[in-house]
Symmetry: D2
Subunit: 142 residues, 4 copies
């Protein structure tokens, strides 16, 4: 799992590729990969009790500012994939790496990353340092 090597924290989910995610080439249309990444990211954020409801309660939203995907091998109907998310940066922004593997063989199918920044909801101001709401939740891991 070199794609998430060095992660402070990892989380993984298994997803079966559904019919409606496929395009006429019989492979998962690329826009759907963000659904798969999101599932693993949510699992990781829940592990530190900082999922969407808690983000909202903390007064911050965390929109994506950058995303990257490297498609190594196409995903097929009914294929069971394992999506691993790893937390790589947290002090000034939230950077997660993703690894998609075939659940059966462990073969690497996709890698990617996303970067999010905190915005204080009330002021609309972008935060250049991650708010305590996030950092306190990571204390046990750092």
């Amino acid at each position: 799992m070199s794609a998430v090597r060095g992660a402070l924290l990892t989380a993984e989910v298994e997803i079966e590729i559904p019919f409606q995610d496929l395009d006429p080439m019989q492979i998962a249309w690329h826009g759907n990969y963000f659904r798969y990444f999101e599932a693993a990211r949510v699992k990781l954020l829940r592990a530190i009790r900082y999922d969407y409801p808690e983000m909202q309660a903390s007064g911050y939203s965390w929109p994506l500012i950058e995303a990257h995907v490297r498609f190594v091998q196409a995903l097929r109907y009914g294929q069971l994939i394992r999506v691993v998310a790893g937390l790589m940066e947290w002090e000034n922004r939230l950077k997660l790496h993703y690894l998609v593997q075939d659940a059966a063989s462990g073969k690497r199918l996709t890698t990617g990353y996303t970067i999010q920044c905190a915005i204080e909801v009330q002021s609309g101001e972008l935060q250049l340092v991650s708010p305590p709401a996030l950092l306190e939740r990571l204390k046990g891991y750092i």
Copy 2:
């Protein structure tokens, strides 16, 4: 356009079926039809100045309580469709009929309807009669 005959008001949009809406059978996956209906419904609601922002400002949300689709003929890649929305009921709930035609031939491809009810956002209460915010906007048409 018998599918919307008797409508108080109609609106139409043209949409080209995009690649990512197709499934491996090379036809638009059925869940996407609500995107097409929505585009025509929004156009109709804008004509009476009661689009989402105005609904929100009026203190009501209008969730769907029922939807129906009859798929007459499949939609193909790049096909240009005309979606007509017609307002059929408004006094107690919002019922719209939809007709999807091939834009070039006028051939009927899909019909359907949606029913929405007003919910007062503050109290969360379902309204059995449509609020004045809607009825006033329809005065010129009734």
Copy 3:
């Protein structure tokens, strides 16, 4: 589970409502319900070994010709739902009923149905009687 009462066969799946399915009203956008129905339908079709790959191998496709949804109560972020699909008709067409329940309370949230007809892929001809490929798979249940 009256919504699927009388079904020849039922299947169920559990789904957690993901963030990207929500709209600005904080509820699952209605077009996503067909994803939930599809998951339960696929499980049912697999139980009789007639999932998409087997449909294709049998020489038939089964496009939807009708769909209906009754939205009883909105779905929220992170809510765990149980989707039950029940096979109601099979001799001339495939009709399934769906019931969406809150997994924790069992409360009924949504009901619906879909109707599919067989089309012989090679000739493109609509079948007025279900092909043996389906009926043979149901022998043990009828």
Copy 4:
């Protein structure tokens, strides 16, 4: 339009952000951006007569191998955006840059790129040099 500076060829489309693309933060969910990019890419590929049906007829598919998005400013309901696609590489692979602007103000909202490689459908072999089917269509531009 520095994001597509140096492009051999550009194409642009205008898109209005629909309700169902928004998330509970009232902004377009990031996975939808690939829909916007795709619309501009298709327009560019049509300009050289190499859209999906022609790709298929040429015996090649062009899956994405890499995608990148930089989200500069969030997209809101009803916002009219202009998506510009520019062809940056074509000899060995297809690389397009994208620029999303607010249609009214011209303000830069998003940039990104996608990279696709040709796969010969019959053999399943990845092509390290773009097939003549693409290069011949670009002759007039090079």
